[in-house]
């Protein structure tokens, strides 16, 4: 039994390059919401020393000096191309778990023949048919397949495919990987491991599992077992429902007044409520936060968050907006130049699975049907057609995206133009 982890190379940049050949061979970064920081980098941009998450204002001189090209994030395009990659992979393996927008685990159980050759075919087909380069890691466990994929990216001589089923090969690669490269080993855990003289993935694999469980948690233990070749994580067919929904943005321009923040927070709560209904769940609490920018020297730093329990589990936009605005009222202070706000929904439950509180106010009658109608109209007429009256017509979702490429695959008026 084996897993393959297929991961798109520099995914957002690769999406931009598919339709914009002028970006090939040049340093390119894709920026986060509101053109804040680099979230995807071409190899040429990495070679310039640009770090993941580096703020764009630090990169501006590279635009003039090195010809760096910065693109706003074009999520409509990336989502479409991600779907194409996943659909292509589905035709090549019996079971697949879409792990994120640009990676998927494939269960290769029962696949006959040369699996490394299969990996090369996956890579060649996705590149040719969809137009996106991917790397493939094949191994007996998910954690090892992640590491195999890391190796495929790190060493170009592998041709983008690493087959790590051979135990001797596993140990050679594990010895080369720092423990921080291991799936599920974050910065804090790897710092603690380093203190324990566990610097490489191999040292983690060879560490006593029982002690790891005692010192950290069961997930670190399982990760070590997986590195040693023991299967602990199964393929999850289809994404599990999220346990938290966050809708947050950095503002294009600083906000000061309560009214401005109310409008933004109403927008985030509205969007978050839509997402919650999309996964057919209710939430029992939400968190609101507001903060100034850490890069702002003029304004005093201010950052507050508050958690607001709901009187009854709800996915009704009106309930969530009311709760979010109540929370905002409690943490708002006039004075600071606010740079970011957000709403996080939590404590989910499914309709019908909770016991109503006898003394709490009754849920709104007809809420389900009303929200279904609102969602249906917004799906057809565009998001925000029906919205809380506090929101302006262009909604609080509009982002600063000055370097946005066309929606090549999702808008009739923005299709790729070819010269005839």
């Amino acid at each position: 039994m084996s897993f393959a982890l297929v991961d798109c190379n520099n995914f957002y940049v690769s999406c931009e390059r598919l339709f914009r050949p002028e970006l090939r061979g040049r340093p390119v970064v894709v920026l986060s919401n509101n053109d804040g920081c680099a979230v995807s980098r071409s190899n040429e941009a990495k070679a310039l020393g640009i770090k993941m998450g580096q703020p764009f204002h630090e990169l501006r001189d590279l635009v003039a000096r090195e010809g760096l090209i910065a693109c706003s994030s074009n999520y409509a395009l990336y989502a479409d191309l991600s779907g194409r990659v996943m659909r292509t992979l589905r035709t090549m393996a019996p079971r697949i778990e879409v792990y994120s927008i640009d990676e998927a685990f494939l269960d290769l159980q029962g696949m006959q023949g040369d699996l490394e050759q299969l990996g090369r075919e996956m890579r060649a087909r996705v590149l040719r048919e969809v137009g996106i380069p991917v790397g493939v890691g094949i191994a007996p466990t998910k954690t090892l397949s992640k590491l195999a994929n890391w190796g495929a990216k790190k060493w170009p001589a592998t041709g983008g495919v690493v087959d790590l089923r051979d135990p001797a090969r596993q140990r050679r690669l594990l010895a080369l990987a720092e423990v921080g490269e291991v799936w599920g080993i974050g910065r804090r855990i790897s710092a603690r491991l380093n203190v324990m003289d566990v610097a490489t993935a191999l040292q983690l694999a060879d560490y006593d599992c029982k002690s790891l469980r005692r010192m950290f948690n069961v997930n670190v233990e399982r990760t070590a077992r997986e590195l040693a070749g023991e299967r602990c994580f199964a393929l999850e067919d289809g994404p599990e429902p999220k346990q938290m929904i966050a809708c947050t943005r950095s503002f294009g321009e600083r906000k000061h007044s309560l009214q401005e923040l109310q409008e933004a927070v109403t927008g985030y709560a509205t969007r978050a409520a839509e997402k919650l209904r999309g996964q057919r769940q209710l939430c029992q609490a939400l968190q609101v936060f507001i903060r100034t920018s850490p890069f702002d020297q003029r304004s005093e730093p201010y950052s507050r968050a508050v958690c607001v329990p709901l009187p009854y589990p709800s996915a009704d936009t009106r309930d969530l907006v009311a709760a979010a605005l109540g929370g905002l009222q409690a943490i708002y202070r006039p004075g600071p130049a606010y740079a970011k706000a957000g709403v996080v929904l939590m404590d989910f439950t499914v309709p019908g699975s909770y016991t109503p509180d006898l003394f709490a106010p009754a849920p709104r009658p007809g809420s389900d049907r009303l929200m279904a109608v609102v969602d249906a109209i917004n799906a057809r007429q565009g998001r925000g057609t029906i919205r809380p009256a506090r929101l302006a017509a262009d909604l609080g979702f509009s982002m600063k995206r000055e370097r946005l490429s066309p929606k090549f695959t999702t808008s009739w008026s923005e299709l790729l133009r070819v010269k005839c």
């Binding site: 659909r87 048919e129 070819v418 010269k419 005839c420």
Partner: protein, 127 residues
């Protein structure tokens, strides 16, 4: 304004068959992950019925055969032309309009085909 007569009474015997309909998506296979839609700009392919503003269905999974319309990268630009080969077996991109010259590749230059045009969606009412 449209006026229609609604009859209430005997149920339509066709109702049981109502779920079958023809899909243009299916006809041009536009849901395949390898199929993209692009917009034609220019009149160099008028001779084979491709006009400015038409929507071309492009399949990246298809193999480009001699005589088919391909999207190729020429001087950094996406260009639609008919794929042919000269006597030496080198690719030549042919227009279908006498006002345009064929495009030959320089020695050592490799033709990059982005996809094969499988269908043309031409509206008769748009202009």
């Amino acid at each position: 304004m449209v006026e229609a007569r609604v009859s209430a009474g005997f149920p339509s015997p066709a109702e049981d068959y109502a779920e079958t309909y023809l899909s243009l998506d299916e006809l041009v296979n536009v849901r395949a992950p390898s199929v993209y839609l692009v917009r034609a700009g220019g009149d160099s392919l008028n001779g084979i019925g491709i006009y400015d503003g038409d929507v071309l269905v492009v399949d990246r999974a298809a193999v480009a055969n001699q005589g088919e319309v391909v999207i190729a990268l020429v001087d950094g630009e996406f260009t639609a032309k008919i794929l042919t080969y000269d006597a030496a077996g080198r690719p030549v991109l042919m227009p279908a309009n006498p006002h345009y010259p064929p495009i030959s590749l320089l020695d050592g230059e490799e033709l990059e085909v982005w996809g094969v045009v499988t269908d043309n969606l031409h509206s008769l009412r748009r202009r």
